[in-house]
């Protein structure tokens, strides 16, 4: 069974068509990143999957359950998922460990409180009031509260916004450790390097439609796109775009009879590809 199955999803707010027919299947244990500019329909899509909004039409199955359902079945379903929303800011009158311990009581098989505090790197802050935490530390707490229930499926909405580069790196290794536990993760992010570092597959949404779903390395024909080779020839840096970088370098090698000065081979980054896709969709 797929973790998430969506067909023909639509949602409008008044005359604004936020989501216009999205199909999406995410396998169990997969890390999937949803990319797209602000207002593209990412958040609406994710909030429908999380059960916060009802779709206008389309079929949605999350862990085999319709998120619009209610009653005890809905509680059982929520028991199996974890949600890290965009920027929440609690009043902050509890300590980190009080807060995580309290939330652990909501679930049938929670992770250990200390284990989670350690996983999100808040050991030294465990006894601090939430209001005393920095922005990045609060975000880690958000993640801690999202994973305390030991979810099979985890939603992460722009989890590293406001992190410094070092904190983002350590956050990424945390997410990778969940992959090893078999957790399915749906991630939305503005950071293309984040998607590339974490995701098995990425989907690009714009104007409420899914433009493409692919691996980060194949998106937009990236793997077969032209590479740009640059090298020094006397006083000038020369560049050449080519579909066949290996044979081109072979030619250069014989030309220089050995080492090519200052050789670089650059393939288009995920960001280049993404911006091209979003740009094309605008026209």
């Amino acid at each position: 069974m797929a973790a998430i199955e969506v067909t023909g999803l639509t949602k409008s707010y008044g005359s604004t068509h936020a989501v216009r027919g999205i199909d999406l299947t995410i396998a169990m244990g997969e890390i999937f990143a949803l990319l797209g500019p602000n207002g593209a329909g990412k958040t609406t899509t994710v909030e429908i999957l999380e059960g916060f909004r009802a779709p206008d039409s389309g079929d949605v199955r999350v862990l085999g359950f319709d998120p619009r359902g209610g009653g005890h079945a809905a509680r059982q379903w929520r028991n199996r998922i974890g949600i890290v929303l965009q920027a929440t800011s609690d009043s902050g009158d509890l300590t980190v460990s009080e807060s995580i311990k309290h939330f652990s009581g909501y679930y049938s098989n929670p992770r250990g409180v200390d284990e989670v505090i350690n996983a999100v790197g808040l050991d030294e802050k465990a006894g601090c009031l939430i209001r005393e935490l920095s922005g990045g530390q609060r975000r880690r707490l958000d993640v801690g509260l999202g994973i305390i229930g030991n979810p099979e499926l985890l939603f992460l909405d722009e989890p590293t916004t406001g992190f410094d580069p070092q904190a983002r790196r350590s956050f990424w290794s945390l997410i990778k450790s969940f992959r090893n536990d078999g957790t399915t993760i749906l991630l939305t992010t503005h950071y293309l390097d984040e998607a590339e570092a974490l995701a098995d597959r990425v989907g690009v949404i714009n104007h409420g439609q899914m433009l493409e779903i692919s691996t980060p390395f194949e998106l937009g024909g990236r793997s077969s796109a032209q590479a740009v080779i640059s090298w020094r020839d006397g006083d000038v840096i020369k560049t050449q775009a080519t579909y066949n970088p290996t044979s081109f370098i072979g030619t250069l090698t014989s030309q220089f009879n050995g080492e090519i000065p200052e050789l670089t081979v650059i393939r288009p980054s995920l960001e280049d590809i993404y911006l091209k896709m979003i740009g094309e969709a605008h026209e």
Partner: protein
């Protein structure tokens, strides 16, 4: 696989958490619990006239403030703090967990009960020490007091949760809620003797629960002879019971059906 915890056990946990958070917010402790006591001391010291044989305005006012206390700690406190929690995103986060709405409501009810109880003890204590309020010796009066507090506090809680959908933002909630409470206090015979108010004011107040609560509390702490001074020449406790029950039903209906977990 363990079972997910029951709604009631989670409600009790929420109650403990709500109380812990409440006592850590010193401003709200002072505002909610101490403010009525300060009002009592001020009004009680200024207006000492005798309004009926053996009854001073101070005693009348203590009864009114106890009834107001039920409205302050329940309706007013919840209708102001819940929109704040909604703005913070705390409610949306809770919505995403297996915790059911009923547990959240139970937690609020526990918080209100505890703060109401503290408030009543403080008001009664000051009333007895400074303003000549006498503790009734008749056990049926205590029985009346018990159901008044229970019913008053639960309807106040339910109505506070229900009314939390009205303020558009947490910032503006106090500006919407507080005037309603203060006007109701003037109309319902808290700051002024009810029978001295204009008739239209009395009739308007009779729609809302505070008027009935104050009248009920007076039936407990004022001498029975004072009943003849009330609008209907009696305490009308049966009527009070029915009207509070109706408001409780209205509060529960809107809390369950219309509660908002997110900002629009």
């Amino acid at each position: 696989m363990n079972k997910i915890p029951t709604a009631v056990s989670l409600g009790l946990r929420r109650g403990g958490l709500e109380i812990r958070q409440f006592v850590r917010q010193r401003e709200s402790v002072v505002f909610t619990l101490l403010f009525p006591v300060i009002l009592l001391l001020i009004f009680g010291s200024i207006f000492k006239d005798t309004i009926a044989p053996g009854v001073t305005f101070s005693q009348y006012f203590v009864a009114g403030m106890i009834a107001s206390g039920l409205v302050n700690t329940g309706f007013q406190a919840l209708a102001i703090t819940i929109p704040l929690e909604r703005d913070f995103g705390a409610l949306k986060r809770l919505r995403g967990t297996p915790m059911p709405a009923s547990s959240y409501f139970i937690g609020k009810a526990i918080l209100v009960s505890v703060s109401t109880l503290i408030q009543i003890l403080m008001l009664l204590g000051f009333g007895v020490i400074f303003f000549g309020v006498e503790m009734p010796s008749d056990p049926t009066k205590w029985l009346t007091f018990t159901w008044l507090v229970l019913l008053g506090s639960t309807s106040s809680t339910a109505l506070g949760i229900a009314f939390s959908i009205v303020p558009k933002s947490g910032r503006g909630a106090s500006a919407v809620v507080s005037p309603i409470v203060i006007i109701l206090q003037f109309f319902s015979g808290v700051f002024l003797v009810f029978t001295q108010l204009p008739t239209w004011m009395q009739q308007l107040a009779a729609i809302f629960p505070l008027k009935w609560l104050t009248q009920g509390i007076r039936s407990v702490f004022l001498p029975d002879s004072f009943a003849t001074q009330e609008v209907a020449r009696s305490w009308e406790n049966e009527k009070t019971f029915v009207i509070l029950l109706l408001w409780l039903a209205i509060g529960i209906y809107f809390s369950v059906r219309k509660f908002k977990w997110e900002r629009d």
